[in-house]
Amino acid sequence: MRIKRLGVAAIALAAASALTLSGCASGGSNDTAATTKADSTAIITANGSEPQNPLIPTNTNETGGGKILDSIFAGLVYYDEKGAPHNDVAESITTDDNITYTVKIKPGQKFTNGEPVTANSFVDAWNYGALLSNAQLSSYFFEDIEGFSYDKDSKLTGLKVVDDNTFTIKLKSALADFPLRLGYSAFYPLPASAFDDMKAFGENPVGNGPYKLAGDGAWKHNAKIDLVVNPDYDGGRKAKNGGLTFVFYADQGAAYSDLLGGNLDVLDALPDSAFGTYKSDLGDRAVNQPAAIFQSFTIPSDTSNYSNPDAFKHFVGEEGQLRRQALSMAINRPEITKVIFQDTRTPASDFTSPVIDGWSDSLEGADVLKFNPDKAKELWAQADKISPWSGSFKIAYNADGGHQGWVDAVCNSIKNVLNIDAAGKPYPTFAEARTLITDRKIETAFRTGWQADYPGLFNFLGPLYATNAGSNDGDYSNPEFDALLKKGSSESDLDAANADFQKAQEILLKDLPAIPLWYSNVTGGYGEKVQDVHFGWNSVPLYYEITKS
């Protein structure tokens, strides 16, 4: 009796609240409908994550904020599915010497607040992004422009406004792939109103892209962000749907459940737990293709800056080279990518990524990345003759990133082939592992990875292995390699440049400053109601092409 009555009360309560809340919800959707064009109203819902920083182009370096910015801003160029650049705001970008570039922009373009997009919109935004005291996370993108400084606040003197629609860029040295970089979010323009209050702007950014925020406060922190079509956008990425909603998930598993439950249209990252079942769950709506992400582990090359150089004493000189090659050949990459990753990784055959123009799987010396136990044993024995191996081989990784499975598998592979003690060395957090690496206090080999910012070979090589480069965590230095990078950068032709970069990689394949493992694939899927879902070179779906029935 008692239970029954309470049950009825609970249902009544739920029903009452359902009524009030559905009232709320329909009010919300009316608002959106008012700002959307009447002919295309289908809103695409996609997974996202809470942006780590305010939505300022030069201060966003992670995918959560990145895919929102790419949707609401248009830069000088944009990348298509394959990573080829096309003019977006730019009419032309020209150069004679790879040092001075002249940029002409299409006249008559507007930000969504009505301000015109001019040469100043770019020059001012870049100067803001580069200024040391603004401490922007992507400031390094401007380091090649004349006037950039890490020591003091300084203006980018290399940027000169010629007229409203023209400006010139002077670089510190020749860079053939500079125009290719201009599609990255750090190079987006900003309206003049942004500089009055950058903090407020980061909360409600005003852009010039295919989409715009659905009014003030469209960014519901930790929950979602609503974007609607920007009718004034006139570039090559015109939206074919009525808008985009990025739902933020703290846990990819929840996003996957939503995709299966029909609450999410597009998912661009599967949870590890779904690797075994996603193909049968999604059928031909499953996506699994290589992406511009390179995974490796690094053994320091020059240990003089390390707090304990002794820990790497077997990895220097000729002995080191032999051991690096032996370790690389002792890893059964195809088996690990198959068993641990269910084929959601592709074994590496170079230091870049198959989605990048200029990638090759037949570089000279790429055999060192093939599983070859006999050769590995032989090389290891040769190294032992120089100085006998002692101790155990360890790979450091952060335990909060799902790396344990493959690190253990790699170490087992090494252990079985070389008959040495090998194991993973976990650090609880990414922050802790990165701090030890940055401070050169780490005493083992360590996990490294790289996701390209722009689709160019140089982006996988220069920042990582050039002498004194910012992310050269193993302090690798080889003058021959540096010279080839420099040569490639000054070539007037991208194919010639790529040939130089391939040669540079052949040096890396001998020295193995990092041991390439595999390329991460983009894994995802989409719902039954959406069509034309294509994932771009940077693992992000081309949202503007998606249609919904």
Binding site: C24, N61, L132, S139, A431, R434, I437, W450, S471, N472
Partner: protein, 309 residues
């Protein structure tokens, strides 16, 4: 009574100061630089890093950072998250959601748990009792994420009767499933507590007296047996409500509930000191208040428990 409440509130002050200090110290002592993690696998230029450190006062010694933080706290300024949002706004956004979820879970577990426990206790050894014991045993032994995943798959994906996750406004109908999942473990505990307590009370003299006075079961059960069996249950509910209020990280993660647990988890992952400390501070306050309320509730249930002076 008022004196008692006043003393309890005074006691809360050192508890409050001590916990904030401890939590701040622990976040500070966490190895690794949270700002470095912001750059992903890329190593930032030291000059840019130094600028950022100064911006978040991370270049100051611990005690200075703590005093700057406490100074802000006293002025009602809880600091700013890395994404530039004032922490007060994060608190104001997430707590209502979690409170809603907690109250719903509490209602479910209380009503269902006490009802089932009471019937089991009264019909000790019968079929209902045996089956409720088995069910509660299963619920207690299953980890909550298993229950959550199964519920999500069965009701959300398979049957399609509930939304798989909770949308950004967290309306009450969508919270029913997460609330039931959250309530499941406590439900099982309450069934067992109530049952044991009811069985014990039923054998006491005053119950026999009540029956022999000629009172009907309908009156004896709620007034004499149930009321006197509820003290341990209320204690449990009090602590459980506290736990629910400070956020159920796992359940909120699985159902993507935009609540406290989710926000705190992300703040910890990012090493955002001020956000973590502010959340914990508010949680400590809530815990103190809920505990006080539970203690006062004892007095209502059992007049023998009195708070003098």
């Amino acid at each position: 009574m008022t004196g008692y409440i006043f003393r309890r509130i005074l006691q809360a002050i050192p508890v409050f100061l001590g916990t904030t200090f401890l939590i701040y110290f622990m976040v500070f002592a966490m190895p690794g630089d949270p700002l470095l993690a912001l750059f992903g696998d890329r190593t930032p230029n030291p000059a840019v890093l130094a600028q950022l450190r100064a911006q978040y006062h991370l270049d100051q010694p611990f005690i200075v950072q703590y005093l700057i933080y406490m100074g802000g706290l006293l002025r009602g300024d809880f600091g700013i998250s890395f994404s530039g949002e004032p922490v007060t706004e994060i608190l104001a956004r997430t707590f209502p959601v979690t409170i809603r979820l907690a109250i719903m879970a509490l209602i479910f577990e209380t009503i269902l748990g006490i009802a089932v426990g009471l019937i089991s206790g009264l019909r000790k050894g019968k079929l209902f009792d045996a089956s409720s014991l088995v069910v509660s045993l299963i619920l207690i032994s299953l980890p909550i994420f298993v229950i959550a995943f199964v519920a999500q798959y069965v009701f959300g994906v398979w049957l399609g009767v509930a939304r798989t996750t909770v949308s950004s406004t967290a309306p009450i109908p969508e919270l029913i499933m997460p609330a039931l999942v959250l309530a499941s473990v406590a439900f099982a505990q309450i069934v067992r507590l109530t049952r044991a307590s009811v069985i014990e009370t039923t054998t006491l003299d005053f119950v026999r007296t009540a029956y022999s006075k000629g009172l009907r079961t309908r009156r004896v059960v709620p007034v004499h047996i149930l009321r006197n069996s509820l003290i341990p249950v209320v204690t449990y509910l009090g602590t459980d409500f506290g736990v629910l209020l400070v956020g159920a990280t796992i359940t909120e993660g699985i159902f993507n509930v935009p609540g406290v647990g989710n926000a705190l988890y992300q703040a910890i992952i990012r090493g955002e000191g001020p956000t973590v400390v502010s959340f914990v501070t508010v949680m400590v306050l809530i815990y103190l208040v809920v505990n006080l309320l539970v203690d006062l509730l004892y007095g209502l249930l059992d007049p023998r428990i009195r708070y003098v002076k």
